[in-house]
């Protein structure tokens, strides 16, 4: 069980998770995206302003058709993200191996994936929920991009710091106190940042039903992505751990003869 096998397991898990996320995004996510684009276009038509951001070929100059965006484009995005996050989750699980208290490889791997979902997807989503087309002022894209990625980076760094804090405390204060301090410490950092950072509300008169459907679908896509990584990676790590134990036990037996 070296770095190489963890990376291979992670990439495999990421591939499966990316395809799973595509399936969820295509079936649950595309209807509200289409509805949002219809809202965007009718708003543009009412204003009589042909320059509003449009995603349809009817605008004439679009480089990519809706059909490509909702199939190959969507799958490319989810699989690419799945591969890099899966590979990274695999290597972080390699780092966590034997370093998280008495957790066995499957336990530490599942914990790494859970922390990845919370710190890299769920917490950023709660502060800056995803926005469908037509929601969000294009003139604030710079600020929104910086705030989103800044907050996400802070959340991940805080999660890594929380794990380091827990490891430091576990020897002197025991497992419960170490885990509680890590969780409270992480929450203190992200809640403080979430309160301090600006919000970018501005759905205007965008239909609330469509906005809710889109955000629910977006959260499901993120859950499918991380759930897929966690499920496959943990299973593969556990399998190779059991094999390694079998081999070691046979070697020990052979050496004792």
């Amino acid at each position: 069980m070296g770095a190489r096998s963890f990376l291979v397991h992670g990439l495999l898990a990421g591939l499966v998770a990316g395809l799973l996320a595509f399936g969820v995004a295509y079936t649950v996510g595309e209807p509200p995206v289409d509805a949002a684009i219809a809202v965007e276009e009718s708003a543009a038509a009412h204003e009589g302003d042909g320059h509003a951001h449009s995603h349809d070929e009817s605008a004439g100059a679009e480089a990519v058709s809706r059909e490509v965006q909702s199939t190959i484009g969507l799958a490319t995005g989810t699989v690419a993200i799945g591969l890099v996050l899966g590979g990274l989750a695999g290597l972080l699980s390699a780092a966590a191996l034997g370093r998280l208290g008495s957790l066995r490889p499957a336990g530490s791997t599942a914990l790494v994936c859970a922390l990845g979902f919370v710190s890299f997807a769920l917490v950023p989503f709660l502060k800056y929920p995803s926005t469908p087309p037509a929601v969000g002022d294009p003139t604030t894209i710079d600020g929104r991009t910086a705030a989103f990625f800044g907050f996400t980076a802070l959340s991940v760094v805080a999660a890594v710091g929380a794990v380091a804090l827990g490891r430091r405390l576990v020897g002197s204060h025991g497992g419960y106190a170490a885990c509680a301090a890590a969780a409270v410490g992480y929450l203190a950092v992200v809640v403080t940042a979430a309160v301090a950072l600006p919000g970018f509300e501005g759905a205007g008169d965008f239909p609330a039903d469509t906005l809710w459907e889109f955000r629910r679908a977006s959260l499901l896509v993120l859950a499918a992505l991380w759930g897929g990584i966690a499920l496959v990676l943990t299973g593969l790590v556990d399998r190779s751990w059991r094999r390694a134990v079998q081999v070691a036990d046979r070697q020990a037996l052979a050496a004792s003869l």
Partner: protein, 73 residues
């Protein structure tokens, strides 16, 4: 007969092996760099910042960018 004994004893009852940071560091470094590059192209290229001119990359991964929760436009 001298058998190759694993450095860390692997046994269900024993301690879980640890992979040294020295061994892990280059893998982690490269994985983080690759992740940042892919996150940039799927999550942000031709939104707030552009490496390539035009909107082709933005439009191609448009739906994934929205549904994965990245600020799109």
């Amino acid at each position: 007969m001298a058998l190759a004994v694993p450095a860390a004893p692997l046994s269900v009852g024993g301690a879980t092996p640890v992979i040294a940071w020295r061994e892990l560091a280059p893998w982690l470094l490269f994985a983080v760099l690759a992740a940042v590059a892919v996150l940039f192209f799927v999550g942000s290229e031709q939104g707030a910042v552009s490496v390539f001119a035009g909107t082709a990359v933005h439009e191609f991964v448009h739906d994934a960018r929205h549904l994965l929760g990245y600020p799109c436009h």
